[in-house]
């Protein structure tokens, strides 16, 4: 079972995506935890959250983006330039953060210079940075705009019913992820943080039905394992901060003698906690979830909500410390991490702040040393 998840996490495409396309299905890529995949699912498309894994050089990324920019969106552009995203029928870029939103311009421009790397359907999703009613209304407007755009381009008809069905499918995904989280909370971990991360990551890379199916099997496996008392206990850490889709980062941490038992990052469990209301008006419900529920520091002035969510997860997972990492040039997570560090340490939770580059994890010595020292510190 794990193979399936490990394979999926290893590279950007996976057998399910290829299979989906072979059977004439179309795939749509999206960038941020702000964009509801339910919309694409309801249109019969395969939602695929854009990943930067497997980037080895930056000649396209750096050609359009300037210096001083987060390497994650740069890697997305690099892969697009390399043609790796040729399988996309469409892409939606969100205004997650400045580095991310400029992917819209950079990708379009690169598309003019290198024909064929820009998906035919290319949409800019403009999300507010706060949640007051008038901002929520704007967000719902954006959802409707996206729905209309998808409908007219892909000739789909996204009815409220279909949306509600998709919401249910994804609610199940969210529920299963939470169950996995609970299993990780057991003090003898039944699954490594790396494997758990691979599994969770798959939820945005394969058809949700397939994911749910595999996840249920995995959970059964793990439950039986738990009965027979899982692996040996290690230092239990939580990982938070900047976006990451590279299982290698988890491996790195766990090689330093810790177990990652929970996370709050994009591609991890961030935002899996609450289900979407599947009875009321679906657009409003999605707005509630994806804007009001957004746990990214891009939501200005909502630090307390994020702090509480984090603190709660820390207790639930029984983590003994937390690694707060940010990708270089990510000011949002960077400074947020410092606030979190102060507040969490006040409550006696050891914190390690790390700044890193996103990209090939080849030279990890310095990072490892810090994590090892941190593990020693909390033991």
């Amino acid at each position: 079972m794990m193979d399936f998840f490990r394979k999926t996490a290893a590279g950007i495409t996976n057998p399910h995506v290829e299979d989906w396309i072979k059977r004439g299905g179309r795939v749509i890529g999206y960038t941020c935890s702000l964009i509801p995949p339910e919309i694409f699912h309801a249109a019969g498309l395969l939602p695929f959250r854009l990943r930067g894994i497997g980037t080895t050089s930056m000649e396209t990324g750096d050609a359009y983006y300037g210096p001083y920019v987060c390497t994650f969106p740069k890697c997305l552009l690099q892969l697009a330039g390399r043609g790796d995203y040729g399988f996309l029928a469409g892409a939606v870029v969100s205004t997650g953060c400045d580095s991310m939103r400029r992917l819209d311009e950079c990708w379009r421009k690169a598309g003019r210079d290198f024909p064929g790397i820009l998906p035919e359907f290319f949409h800019y999703f403009d999300a507010p940075h706060k949640t007051e009613p008038h901002a929520a209304a704007w967000f719902e407007g954006e959802i409707r705009r996206l729905i209309r755009a998808v409908e007219s381009f892909f000739g789909a008809d996204i009815t409220d019913e279909k949306l509600k069905e998709s919401i249910c499918v994804y609610n199940k995904t969210r529920r299963l992820i939470c169950e996995l989280e609970d299993l990780r909370a057991a003090e003898n971990p039944v699954i490594s943080g790396e494997d758990a991360f691979c599994a969770i990551l798959a939820s945005s890379a394969v058809p949700p039905e397939k994911f749910n199916e595999h996840m249920e099997h995995l959970l059964d496996e793990l439950r039986s394992k738990k009965a027979t008392g899982g692996g040996k206990a290690k230092k239990r850490l939580m990982l938070a901060g900047s976006i990451n889709d590279d299982p290698g980062l988890m491996r790195l941490i766990e090689e330093a003698g810790a177990a990652v038992v929970a996370d709050s990052i994009c591609f991890g469990t961030r935002g899996a906690d609450r289900p979407v209301d599947a009875v009321t008006d679906p657009v409003a419900a999605l707005g509630q979830k994806y804007l009001a529920g957004c746990l990214c520091p891009r939501m200005f002035g909502e630090y307390d909500r994020r702090l509480n969510a984090l603190a709660e997860k820390l207790t639930r997972s029984g983590a003994e410390g937390i690694i707060l990492q940010n990708i270089r040039f990510c000011d949002l997570h960077g400074s947020e991490n410092s606030l979190l560090e102060k507040d969490l340490e006040k409550n006696g939770i050891p914190c390690l702040k790390l700044e890193r580059e996103y990209g090939p994890l080849t030279d990890t010595g310095r990072m490892k040393m810090r994590i090892e020292a941190f593990v020693e510190q909390i033991s």
């Binding site: 340490e345 010595g365 310095r366 040393m369 810090r370 090892e372 020292a373 020693e376 510190q377």
Partner: protein, 263 residues
């Protein structure tokens, strides 16, 4: 009698310390080669030689530093952060803040009353603010590390450096040299830039007296004095041993503790 050893294989230098019930028998500092094992062997043999001992006499050896994982004769490995904390505490028993500037990075540690590590942070995004930075600059200026350290004292008008990154600084230095600046003024500027980075790091973990500096750069008086200015506090020097060996001393102390626990 039980003899403890500590071996710190750093990116630039390797250090070994032999200790017998809390007293240093010998210290050795050498340039690291490309292969950690080899560096470890030779520095340890040198230290043993000085102490008139052989590997067999060592009851327990702790390794630290970047190369610590592949050291054949080590019984245990401990991170250099822990080792520098312990070593600094031995050098300056009242130390509550440790600033360690080695070849690869710059670390700031805050210790609690018992000397346990309460908080640490390290700068390694960029080579500026590392001993390596000083070496590169020293090479550009064609002076030795010692001379570079002395330059601050002799400087008339220290230059300001684009402190953000080694390479930017490099072209700055080249420009200064070409425009005929006095070398000592450039050197002083370099030391100051280094100290500024370290000061930011130290302040971000929160400086508490007393302050102790470890790592090779602790031997750079220019940096130390500048750092004192920036922190507005004196940095306690220790006559007990070479601060560059602090990591190895800490490792040896861990080894000794292990032996004690065993007895």
């Amino acid at each position: 009698m039980s003899i403890a050893a500590g071996c710190d294989v750093g990116s630039l230098t390797s250090k070994a310390v032999i200790m017998e019930n809390g007293r240093i028998k010998s210290v050795s500092v050498m340039r690291s080669g490309t292969r950690p094992q080899v560096s470890a062997e030779s520095v340890m043999n040198d230290a043993l030689g000085r102490a008139g001992l052989s590997m067999r006499d060592i009851s327990f050896c702790v390794a630290t530093g970047y190369g610590r994982k592949n050291i054949p004769f080590a019984d245990k490995s401990v991170s250099e952060i822990a080792c520098h904390g312990r070593g600094a505490r031995w050098l300056v028993p009242s130390a509550r803040t440790v600033i360690d500037i080695g070849g690869q990075d710059c670390k700031a540690l805050r210790l609690d009353k018992k000397g346990e590590i309460a908080k640490f942070t390290a700068n390694d995004k960029c080579a500026s603010g590392t001993g390596r930075f000083l070496e590169v600059m020293a090479r550009l200026l064609q002076v030795s590390m010692e001379e570079l350290g002395g330059m601050s004292a002799r400087a008339a008008a220290p230059v300001t450096m684009a402190s953000t990154c080694t390479v930017w600084a490099q072209s700055d230095v080249v420009r200064y040299i070409n425009s005929g600046c006095r070398l000592s003024d450039i050197g002083a500027g370099i030391n100051t830039a280094m100290a500024k980075r370290a000061a930011i790091l130290a302040n971000s973990v929160g400086v508490e007296n007393d302050i102790c500096m470890t790592g090779g750069v602790a031997k750079n008086q220019g940096v130390v004095k500048e750092l004192e200015k920036l922190l507005g506090a004196r940095i306690k020097r220790s006559k007990k041993a070479d601060p560059q060996a602090a990591g190895a001393i800490g490792a040896a102390l861990f080894a000794a503790a292990h032996i004690k626990a065993g007895e």
